[in-house]
């Protein structure tokens, strides 16, 4: 039985939640601990904190945010952004994160995925894969981007997903840089390509503007989980509404208690 997870994502800068539109133009939207707790009560299956803090002092703040969240929120918490080493991952896991996401550092040094998997187990290791389409729509080719979507890596997204799985990643958090912030739905072609290429779970991210987008990500994209931010942050829909909508349209989700 495959149950699709619904995951609100919080972009966190120096301990405060912000939502990046195309990863720029940030807006303050609250306290991460409160928001995570609110989403858990609404029936979120997991919460993702994406640390977009540039400075290293800011990252110590993130460990503190995770520590506070773990005292109040009893659903899985994934933390990504700025993780460069096994030690960075350890600090977040010890603070109470369930999973740690790596992106740029893994592209620069793929063996980091293996070291993390050996140290903590694959179930703790999420590779955040930011991809941008190459060529016209429907080309079926996507390139991996790093550093918050700024730097092209020259690596094919599907090949990279397979490599990550082989190195011991436990999950792929797949963000379409073309769709992100556009609120016109996931890039379903990209989602389907990567979901079919991997035997590990794939989380679809980037582009959710309506509840139907979540259904499409699961049914057409084949995603194991769907991640969204602004649709939840600005009170347009609760997680409970999203799950009820998905369930009515044939997506198996954990019902909200």
């Amino acid at each position: 039985m495959r149950t699709v997870r619904v995951i609100p994502c919080l972009d966190v800068d120096a301990g405060r939640v912000v939502k990046g539109v195309q990863f720029e133009n940030l807006r303050d939207a609250g306290d991460p601990v409160e928001l995570a707790s609110l989403y858990a009560d609404q029936g979120a299956d997991e919460v993702v904190f994406l640390d977009i803090t540039a400075s290293s002092e800011g990252r110590d703040t993130m460990v503190e945010v995770v520590r506070e969240t773990a005292e109040q929120v009893f659903i899985p918490l994934t933390v990504g952004g700025g993780v460069r080493s096994v030690d960075d991952a350890r600090a977040l896991l010890r603070a109470g994160a369930e999973k740690v996401g790596v992106n740029s550092a893994a592209v620069a040094d793929p063996a980091l995925i293996r070291r993390m998997a050996e140290e903590f187990g694959s179930q703790c290791v999420v590779v955040s894969l930011d991809a941008r389409r190459v060529g016209p729509q429907g080309s079926g080719r996507y390139e991996v981007y790093t550093h918050g979507g700024r730097n092209p890596s020259g690596i094919d997204a599907v090949s990279w997903a397979r490599i990550c799985e082989r190195l011991g990643a436990g999950e792929i958090l797949l963000t379409s840089m073309d769709a992100d912030g556009g609120q016109a739905g996931f890039d379903l072609g990209l989602t389907r390509l990567v979901a079919d290429a991997c035997r590990i779970p794939v989380v679809a991210s980037g582009g959710v503007g309506r509840l139907q987008d979540l259904v499409d990500g699961a049914l057409q994209g084949g995603a194991d989980a769907v991640l969204a931010a602004s649709i939840f942050h600005y009170g347009r829909h609760t997680v409970a509404e999203a799950k009820a909508y998905m369930a009515e349209r044939g997506v198996l989700v954990r019902p909200v208690e």
């Binding site: 520590r67 369930e98 703790c124 779970p201």
Partner: protein
């Protein structure tokens, strides 16, 4: 006091905090004497079977775990903390389990994604489970694993993942879950509450 055995593996803080939220005086400890004095002992675990057992033995807490099981006080294994209670695992055939429970840990059915990383519904196969008391007929819990113990007599609940998979076992004072109650929201806190009550009895 409930001792959560800390042998340096992964995220143990969630187990400690969730037990506290469920009303227990839970403490992370790596001190065998503290574990011996506790009213209940929890053995968490994430990652690979062999690596967890290696870390557990290196810390000396394997003897504390076995002593707790033998003493008859409430004992609970979570995830790989459950798997280590068995004799062996297909994940690391060379590694010797604690052999508190007979049988081995096997890979999840092929044809499904590995790991199972999702919430799944748990079906009670016995109606006298103390562990699942008050959790309802088919509660949802959060699973993250690629292996699970073979179905045996001690099983009190299964989930469906390409066939029935061991979700929880209970035999005497030994309780264990393949899922993570500390990450399973209100249902998980209710289950941990049952353990806290058993520890206080």
């Amino acid at each position: 006091m409930i001792a959560v055995l800390d042998y340096g593996i992964g995220n143990l803080r969630s187990a400690e905090k969730a037990l506290q939220r469920a009303g227990g005086d839970a403490r992370l400890t790596s001190d065998p004497e503290e574990a011996a004095a506790a009213e209940g002992v929890v053995l968490p675990g994430v990652g690979a079977f062999g690596r967890c057992l290696g870390a557990l033995r290196a810390s000396g807490l394997d003897r504390a775990a076995l002593a707790a099981v033998e003493s008859g006080k409430p004992f609970m294994g979570i995830c790989v903390g459950m798997q280590m209670l068995y004799e062996s695992s297909e994940e690391d055939p060379e590694a010797r389990g604690l052999a508190v429970l007979p049988g081995r840990v096997v890979r999840l059915p092929e044809g499904e994604k590995h790991p199972q990383m999702q919430w799944n519904q748990v079906h009670a196969v016995r109606d006298d489970s103390r562990l699942l008391q008050g959790c309802g007929p088919a509660p949802w819990f959060y699973f993250v694993h690629s292996y699970a113990p073979e179905i045996s007599e001690a099983v009190v609940a299964t989930c469906d993942y390409g066939g029935p998979v061991t979700a929880a076992v209970e035999t005497g004072n030994v309780w264990a879950t393949q899922f993570h109650p500390e990450k399973s929201g209100p249902a998980g806190l209710r289950l941990l509450g049952n353990f806290v009550v058993a520890c206080a009895a």
